[in-house]
Symmetry: C2
Amino acid sequence: MSGPPTTEQIAHPARDELELSAVLHALSDPVRLMIVAELSKGEREYTCGSFELPVTKSTCTHHFKVLREAGLIKQRQQGTTRLNTLRRQDLEARFPGLLDTILQAAADTAPLQPQPV
Amino acid sequence: MSGPPTTEQIAHPARDELELSAVLHALSDPVRLMIVAELSKGEREYTCGSFELPVTKSTCTHHFKVLREAGLIKQRQQGTTRLNTLRRQDLEARFPGLLDTILQAAADTAPLQPQPV
DNA sequence: CAACTTGTACGACGAGCGTCGTACAATGCT
DNA sequence: AGCATTGTACGACGCTCGTCGTACAAGTTG
């Protein structure tokens, strides 16, 4: 193999372009909040398929797209899979404390927890 | 005057019933975030008309209703006017630090500020 | 009483959201 | 090569959202 193994041509907003309303809207959906909560539990990269979500594949793609366009996650292509990571530093720089506070609130009040794989 | 001057028959969710997704959704609208930011600046009660909002009266009523049903504000009838206050304590008890963090993020990144009256 | 103020109720409209199914592209594996 | 895996693209569907205009209710004030 001589060509580039990864594509990395996925649009992401810059740190200074993150909008609060987009972030809050993204996290106001229970499924997306689940995804972000899962991502926040580890430092490793998660594939889209490593979540037990109560929606189909295409809906899952949609939610990851919303999260990416709001600047919450970074997506990196690797082979057929797409690796997702939380943009912790960017979020912390732009909206200090916001992510942790929301995740804490979610953990305190969530009736159900998703299952990682 | 011998009769009751205020009605106080407006439905509000109890503290323990506040849902995170509803709160985040309520605050993901710029107009509603403006309203909450204004309310947070003072301890006094604000009438619905004391905001300079870029929407009509009926839209304003709608936004206050969303905020009330999400548990962000308390509305109290007094004569023809309705007095609004932020439910600071309830929010702090249910979602510690959430309101302040969001308001801080809004203040840091907001391009425009509303005008109080 | 009549006029005004403050805000709600209701219906309408266009836009967007969350969901799905099917089809397809790209990669990995046998 | 052929097949399986992973995820996207696209269209469709109901539903909700934000907005508005008009009409109306409840107080306040002349």
